[in-house]
């Protein structure tokens, strides 16, 4: 895949339209690397001039901050801000709502001011501006439900962009009984991704997966790497991985465009 790093842009004295912030899950998690490639292939197919930081990118510090380790968070943030400001970055797009939230809401207080956009919003902008088009409804009549990521939805009020993409794909969007502002968490936020759940009657991701399965949808669309893991595990737990797929919205678009 032809991916240009920020260092290469800088060496040529050029600057990209956007910086694609890949995130740790997008870089290391096998499942989410497929989302990273899907999104990058969409950008490439539309000749969007984008850069990545490559090995210069590091964790935003989100999980450390939410678990309580403010020192570690701020160390990460300061280092990242030095890199981002060093390159004069103005606009960042990321496929991770946790990175999105931290870069957008928490870096400004520490000296990092950027326009930060979630990839669902960016893709919607590409559709609105006519750059991204679909012919024939690849998903016509296909039942898809969308699971709201807390860090995208309640945390930042992004509810409509991911849904607009599914509607643009001609999918039959079915809402779960808890959605948008009352959407149920997948169970991974606030550092839970990195520990076993506390004792209880049930795992949160199983509860949420049951709601998703109740809709009868054959695809559960997500926009977050942690939700991806939790919902996929939930579907496996319910032994439905044969007929129900968990997919990121960028993957659905890449498939519709024949890019995967």
């Amino acid at each position: 895949m032809n991916i240009v790093t920020m260092a290469e842009f800088a060496a040529k004295g050029e600057s990209p339209e956007i910086l694609f912030w890949v995130g740790c899950a997008g870089s290391f998690d096998d499942r989410y690397k497929r989302v990273t490639r899907a999104f990058a292939s969409i950008l490439n197919s539309l000749d969007v001039k984008f850069a990545v930081l490559g090995t210069e990118e590091t964790c935003t510090g989100d999980p450390a901050r939410r678990a309580g380790n403010e020192f570690l968070f701020q160390m990460q943030a300061m280092n990242n801000i030095q890199v981002l400001n060093g390159y004069g970055i103005k606009k960042i797009v990321t496929a991770c709502p946790h990175c999105f939230n931290t870069l957008k809401n928490e870096y400004p207080e520490l000296g990092g001011n950027y326009e930060v956009i979630h990839h669902s919003t960016f893709l919607q902008q590409l559709i609105d501006s006519g750059r991204l088009k679909f012919e024939g409804g690849a998903y016509k009549g296909k039942k898809i439900t969308y699971h709201d990521s807390c860090f995208l939805g309640r945390a930042n009020d992004v509810y409509e962009a991911p849904r607009a993409l599914l509607i643009a794909l001609d999918a039959d969007l079915i809402e779960m009984k808890r959605s948008r502002k009352t959407g149920l968490c997948c169970g991974a936020g606030g550092g839970q991704m990195f520990k076993e759940p506390e004792n209880g009657k049930k795992d949160i991701n199983v509860e949420r997966t049951e709601e998703a399965l109740e809709t009868g949808a054959s695809t559960i669309a997500v926009g977050c790497p942690f939700c991806m893991t939790m919902m996929s595990d939930g579907v496996k737990n319910k032994e439905r991985e044969q007929d129900v797929k968990v997919k990121d919205i960028a993957e659905l678009i890449a498939e519709a465009k024949g890019l995967s």
Partner: protein, 436 residues
């Protein structure tokens, strides 16, 4: 004359106790750390208007919203009548506004009576919801004992206060044709339906009943005001300031710790000479006790009316974990009251060997939070239990190094590999080379 003296004494006693309690609550809230709220005044005022006055967030659940609206409007409007009660009480007059306002007085009293009926009916429905249909959120673990009794006492008190008003107006109307002391009010529809109950009683008996109802209502209101300072019902006052001081940033934003920023900057050599002056005593990182929280968190604890909408939306609670956002607020308030009561008696206050974290809220509870903001979104008065949970986690992580072991591994991975998982940082860009 005797009744005027009695009125002044009762009022003076009530004011003494009310200001004493509010003074204590104020001192308790001021145990919290200072924080500036001069920013985004427009947004804050907007919250007060829409969320507190306008009840906007109540309407996420229609049935309780309508019932609550009746009581809320009743509370605001019927209390106008207290003005007349006060003047009559001081001056020894009776319904002093009636002759002046004439027909308008009749309309006003009928509106009050309609609202009294609306409040009464709503309170009966709320009692049924609490005790007969058993809405689940009123039956969580933290709702045993006093909190449940408190809820029922408030509803019961409001019902009898409304019955007192209607009784007063019914006997008053019977007295108007036979006693000069009772100016005419015009027909008061709802209380006139009660008149048959008192028909046939002689004048002096009617006066006794009317006076009793009048005194019962005014003493009841004063007594209730003292009661609510010990009760979850304080939201009727504190909801207004609480919505003003509520978080105005996006919900995903976590409050920064400038103390840490200074230290990190000096560690990274980013500090200029003038700002690297020796820092003042940094205090504690995060919160172990109530005095480590900012005062607005403590105001929020007093504002909580234990409706439990937060807990009923909490993914951890729904799936049987110990965490309940409502309990976080109730525990914070309980700790505040315990410390305040101790200080009131000259006791050790905060130094009683206990702390909010450990003795009231356990690590198991705060460790179960997913930071999903469902509780914050659910609260009708913009209380933010997540801010308290984050501060407690900060104390555990930075002062005790007591985070769960797997979080400590996650920290270590970030420190050494710059990712929360154990991958080599040099592999970060491999995704671009790999085939699926």
């Amino acid at each position: 004359m005797i009744s005027q003296i009695a009125f002044v004494l009762v009022l003076a006693a009530a004011i003494y106790f009310i200001q004493k309690r509010f003074g204590r609550i104020r001192k308790n809230i001021n145990l919290g750390k200072n924080r500036d709220f001069k920013d985004q005044v427009d947004k804050r005022l907007n919250n007060v208007l829409l969320v507190a006055f306008g009840q906007k967030k109540m309407f996420k659940r229609l049935i309780p919203a309508v019932l609550h609206l009746m009581i809320y409007v009743g509370f605001l409007v019927i209390n106008l009548e207290v003005l007349e009660f006060m003047i009559d009480g001081f001056a020894g007059t009776h319904r002093i506004f009636a002759p002046f306002l004439g027909g308008f007085y009749t309309i006003l009293m009928n509106v009050f009576e309609f609202l009294a009926i609306a409040v009464l009916v709503s309170c009966v429905f709320f009692l049924l919801r609490r005790n007969i249909t058993k809405v689940p959120r009123f039956f969580n673990a933290e709702m045993k004992g006093w909190p449940r009794l408190d809820g029922n006492l408030i509803l019961f008190t409001e019902i009898i206060l409304m019955i007192a008003i209607l009784t007063m107006n019914a006997t008053d109307q019977l007295l108007q044709p036979i006693s000069d002391h009772y100016p005419t009010t015009g027909e008061l529809f709802f209380s006139s339906l009660l008149m048959p109950l008192f028909a046939g009683l002689n004048e002096s008996t009617l006066i006794v009943i009317e006076r009793f109802a009048w005194w019962f209502h005014i003493v009841g209101i004063l007594g209730f005001t003292i009661y609510i300072t010990y009760s979850k019902h304080l939201h009727i006052i504190l909801a207004f300031p609480n919505t003003y001081f509520a978080k105005v940033e996006p919900k995903g934003h976590v409050n920064n710790m400038p103390v840490v920023t200074n230290e990190v900057k000096s560690m990274l050599g980013l500090v200029s000479a003038e700002s690297s002056a020796p820092p003042t005593e940094p205090g504690r990182f995060g919160a172990k006790d109530i005095n480590d929280l900012t005062w607005n968190n403590l105001l929020a604890a007093y504002t909580c009316t234990e409706c439990g909408r937060c807990t009923s939306e909490c993914p951890a609670n729904i799936t049987g974990k110990k965490l309940s956002p409502r309990k976080i607020m109730m525990d914070t308030r309980d700790r505040l009251e315990d410390v305040g009561n101790s200080l009131e008696k000259g006791g050790p206050g905060l130094n009683d060997g206990k702390s909010l974290l450990g003795d009231y809220i356990t690590k198991e509870e705060i460790n179960a939070c997913t930071n999903c903001n469902a509780c914050v979104e659910a609260c009708p008065v913009l209380i933010n239990p997540l801010e308290i949970i984050t501060e407690l986690r900060r104390y555990v992580a930075m002062e005790e190094s007591g985070s769960p072991a797997s979080w400590n591994s996650m920290y270590q991975n970030i420190e050494t590999n710059f990712a929360p998982w154990k991958f080599s940082p040099s592999d970060r860009f491999n995704w671009a080379e790999e085939k699926k």
